[in-house]
């Protein structure tokens, strides 16, 4: 038997499948990437606040 080419209905379905897969991926990947960003930005913010506190303290001591 020879290879069966996809017909237009099947192609439409496959296009929909690709879109669905991609949409699902975007939703899941955003969660992961937001977590990555959150971890680092929270740490940076904390460090920056600590620095500001240190600077304030040193100014007050002067």
């Amino acid at each position: 038997m020879s290879a069966a080419k996809l017909n237009p209905t099947e192609i439409k379905q496959r296009l929909k499948n690709i879109n669905d897969l991609y949409e699902d991926y975007i939703q899941k990947i955003e969660k992961i990437r937001n977590q990555e960003k959150d971890i680092l930005t929270k740490f940076i913010k904390k460090m920056e606040e600590q620095k500001i506190t240190e600077i304030r303290k040193s100014i007050q001591q002067q």
Binding site: A3, L15, I18, D24, Y25, I29, I32, E36
Partner: protein, 509 residues
């Protein structure tokens, strides 16, 4: 995101023009490029943030180390999900280049509803690596001799398909489950009988299944043992209604998965040189979700009729669903609860299962989010050590092992409790009709049983105390316990106490 918008606009334009294979390939390339680009952009962004964090950290090396580890884990998840999606998108451009089997009726409605594609290399490799040589031998033999000669679609379901769709699992498939068309039953049975005469299979039998254990539903279960080099493998094949029976003849669907009735995609793997149809990931998920529903709704051990309880099998099913490739292990319980609602057709059983699962999930989340965690506790108690440096793999394999432990334990305890109760109940009823001495004996037996039940209860109380609700892996193991206490231990004690009172009254008379 602008790039994506432009591409989407381009796609909209394409949609309005002629539909052909090239468009599919273009779309495939675009989406895969988006995934790659998105990953690189994110990597650059994270690199920038990490650099800034490093510069600011000064002496805080330990804290930075922890953060780097967390980011590394998330980056791995990102990579895995991206690769997995690229592979799935790639699958969508493959032509249906399957050499159809000799008797397969390509133009039948059943065939039109069943898309048959080659399994991805990944799935093929997993099948090759994870399915035992004996099982592969049995699969190749029975599919080559019987099911590949069918006129309608068929596929392997159950653990053989599940294992191929999970990255981490040490499960060993013990039996072989197949669904096929009722139209092929006579022909397949005739071939199986010939094989039995040749000594290649034994214990061939058939049985018509019943809907929820009641009226017969027309699905014929064909059972036998298939000969392999090292022994025998059990096969259960289910001959079901397909499009002609359901749509033209108005019969009910009579399987959990209805191949040839709804649209399904079947993947073909090559097993010892024989092409074999296996269920794809979506079907596996659907099957396990429906199994969960059944396990919840039909649970009835020795007539206890505790619908809504979690049976040992239900635990395995829950774990199997959340361990499938596209599930993010940590946030998948919510998805299961949602997906049960979407099972088609909606049934009262699905409602019971959803309610039970949702209640358990709510109770679980209210438990303390601290401590060892039940999975880890069970690993230590049973001296199980998962040797891997991959956190996710360790997590999944530990949970799988813990689910196995608790499944065996709860199943045995429930069976023992139930059996002992039935014996004791009989003894009490007999004693009530006999001498006071017999009543005294029965009271002593009740007291001994209550002590035993208390010991069992304490064991599970200890397990519950180990649960750490911050570790979602604990849920699968936890789910077995609340109802075991409420639906088994407490009702048995209540009934025994009533019997005890009746026996005391009998002695006083």
């Amino acid at each position: 995101m602008d790039i994506e918008k432009n591409q989407d606009n381009k796609n909209e334009f394409i949609k309005s023009s002629e539909i052909n294979q090239e468009i599919l390939e273009l779309k495939n390339k675009e989406k895969k490029a988006n995934i790659k680009k998105g990953y690189s952009q994110n990597k650059e962004l994270i690199k920038g943030l990490a650099q800034k964090a490093f510069e600011l950290s000064n002496q805080k090396e330990t804290e930075l180390d922890i953060i780097q580890k967390k980011v590394k884990v998330l980056d791995k998840q990102d990579q895995e999900l991206s690769t997995e999606t690229e592979n799935k998108i790639e699958q969508e451009i493959k032509e249906s280049n399957i050499d159809h089997l000799p008797n397969y009726q390509v133009e039948s409605e059943e065939a039109k509803l069943t898309e048959i594609i080659s399994a991805s290399e990944n799935i093929q490799e997993r099948f090759e690596e994870k399915i035992s040589p004996d099982m592969k031998e049995a699969i190749a033999l029975v599919c080559g001799r019987v099911f590949n000669k069918g006129t309608k679609p068929y596929e392997l379901i159950g653990s053989n398909s599940y294992i191929a769709h999970t990255e981490y699992s040490e499960k060993i498939s013990e039996d072989l489950d197949i669904i096929f068309s009722l139209k092929d039953l006579d022909m397949n049975l005739a071939e199986l009988k010939t094989m039995q005469e040749e000594g290649l299979i034994k214990d061939l039998s058939t049985e018509e299944l019943r809907k929820f254990g009641q009226e017969k539903n027309g699905c014929i279960k064909v059972s036998c043992l298939i000969k392999t080099t090292n022994g025998w493998k059990e096969m259960e094949a289910f001959a079901q209604n397909m499009h002609d029976e359901v749509v033209n003849q108005g019969k009910d669907t009579n399987g959990l998965i209805n191949l040839g009735v709804d649209k399904h995609r079947v993947e073909v793997v090559v097993v010892n040189g024989v092409k074999v149809n296996i269920a794809n990931e979506k079907t596996v998920e659907e099957l396990y979700l429906k199994n969960i529903v059944n396990e919840f709704a039909l649970y009835d051990l020795n007539g206890w009729e505790k619908k809504g309880s979690v049976s040992a099998k239900a635990l395995q099913r829950i774990f199997n669903v959340i361990n499938l490739d596209s599930q993010r292990f940590e946030d998948s319980i919510n998805q299961i609860i949602e997906n049960i609602k979407n099972i088609d057709p909606p049934t009262p059983e699905a409602e019971i299962a959803q309610k039970s699962l949702r209640n358990l999930w709510t109770q679980f989340k209210a438990l303390p989010a601290e401590g060892t965690g039940l999975v880890k506790y069970l690993m230590t108690e049973n001296n199980i050590n998962i040797e891997t440096n991959d956190n996710r793999e360790r997590k999944v394999l530990s949970t799988e092992a813990a689910v196995d432990i608790i499944t065996i334990e709860t199943k045995k305890d429930m069976q023992d409790m139930s059996d002992r109760y039935q014996d004791l109940e009989k003894k009490c009823q007999e004693a009530l009709l006999n001498s006071p001495e017999k009543s005294q004996e029965a009271i002593e037996a009740i007291d001994a049983e209550i002590k035993l039940l208390s010991i069992t209860g304490l064991k599970y109380k200890n397990y519950l105390n180990q649960v750490n609700s911050a570790d979602k892996n604990d849920f699968c193991v936890y789910a077995a316990m609340p109802q075991l206490r409420n639906h088994f231990i407490l009702p048995i004690i209540t009934r025994l106490m009533k019997n005890r009172k009746d026996l005391k009254d009998k002695i006083k008379q």
